[in-house]
Amino acid sequence: MKPDARAGAVNWLYAAPALLVMGVVSLLPIFETFRLAGEFHRIAVDTRFGPVMRTTLSLTAVTVLLELLLGLVMALVLWSPFKGRGFVRAAVLIPWALPTAVMAMAWRWIYNADYGVMGDLLFRLGLVASPQTAFLADASSAYWAIVLADVWKTTPFMAILLMSGLAAIPDELYEAAAIDGAGPVRRFFTVTLPLLRPTILVAVIFRGIQTFGLFDLVYVLTGGGPGGRTQTIAVYVYDVVFRYQELAYGCALTVAMAACLVLMTSLLLAVARERRTR
């Protein structure tokens, strides 16, 4: 059976239904967005755009960094052999698997101003003045409430990616380092961390893109409040289109958002290549 042009065309038919569905649902909307987008000049004078971008970028940076640190701890713990590891791995996966919007309601209850358990716990620890603290009514604590809920939700995914990186590190390297007299801490910094770098980079890019587009957690937990102080770009676009009914400008914001994502990704990839060639 020689692969000629006709066989190639017939073979494409196997992929055609899948490609068609993806084309209609994913690709067509992208073209539509560009077609509908207008009033780009408004971005320059939109007083909301700056604060929204600041919130989105800062949320992205802070949560991905915390996730990475906590994810490393998680990955190292779950990678070590111990009794009952399968069960603990399952327990750790639960935050990742639970619906974000549903857990956002659960977090609202935890942060509740009158009966919330967070206020009670922090009060007992002497960290807040009263157990009745309205976390979601204050810009700064609402921001950190989102950070905590998002880090809780997404760290397991980070940990699993990092574990796949750990799996790729050959045992001999650790043994060689141990023979050279390196303790566990030295081994972590001289063997584990450098060899994990490619995995970390992929994980950070991927999580960065996801967090930049964060919607459901913010939408359900704070609605972007108080006073728009926790509004991310995705929530803002949603409001512009569906609440203020400004389709053209909403699409323009979407294009700007996609441009930011492409820029962020290429920047990170460029940094990675720089590091590797040096």
Binding site: A15, V21, V24, R89, L98, P99, A101, W109, P131, A167
Partner: protein, 278 residues
Amino acid sequence: MRPTALGRALLWTGVAFVSAWSLAPFLWQVITSLKPAAEVAAVPVRYWPSAADLASYVQIFKARPFATYILNSFIVGLGTTAATTVLAAAAAYAFSRLSVPGGRAALFAILGLSLFPGTILIVPLKQLATRAGLLNSLTGLVIAYTALNLPFAIWVLKAFFDRLPKDVEEAAWLDGLSRWQTLWKIVLPLSAPAVATTAILVFIFSWNEFLIAQTLVSRDSARTVPVGIAMLSGVTVYEVPWGQIAAAVVVTTLPVVVMVLAFQRRIVEGLTAGAVKG
């Protein structure tokens, strides 16, 4: 490397911390949902109910259309899982085994498409759905979710097909089976582990999705679980039924928790192989 006593102690501290961190927010919902109504909003917070009370659970099914939400979520979840698996298997087989000119480029285009968060799709997606008469329709949700899951499913299945030995298929061709029959009768049964992994992850995604369900569905009879729960807050602004919300959170997250406990290993494998699902 022999674990030292200090190492052991550190590891178990890590295990305890990681488990508590992952489970606490969910367990708090379980506790809240079992409290008698008077204790839900008690000051100071009661950490353990005086008696287990199932009234909140009865309420969500009696006073609210929760059974409908759950049924809708199951229909959408199973429909998406079936459609995605079939379409992805055919496409992955073509990309893995058949000669398709430009196949590699298509694969990376698919991957690139899947990288962007769904938030940039919703505005045009709603317009398309309106024009196609697929608003407030479970079919519309199945089509959208299938498209969003296909990139991940194609990549996982292709990776698995690549590792299958070719001689089994060649024997099947010699026996007179067509390519198409070989895929369904030989390759897919051999790939049962990868198919199961893909199906589990696709089902969890569909069960949890919020943004598209919220955008495309506004009628209560077609709502899925995450949207139904997020709506609970909107019903009464001042008297939020936290006990019922907690019960709803537990009921709707239970299928996912059971799946995670049962399929922990497959989920970890799938996430590592696909690494494209947030």
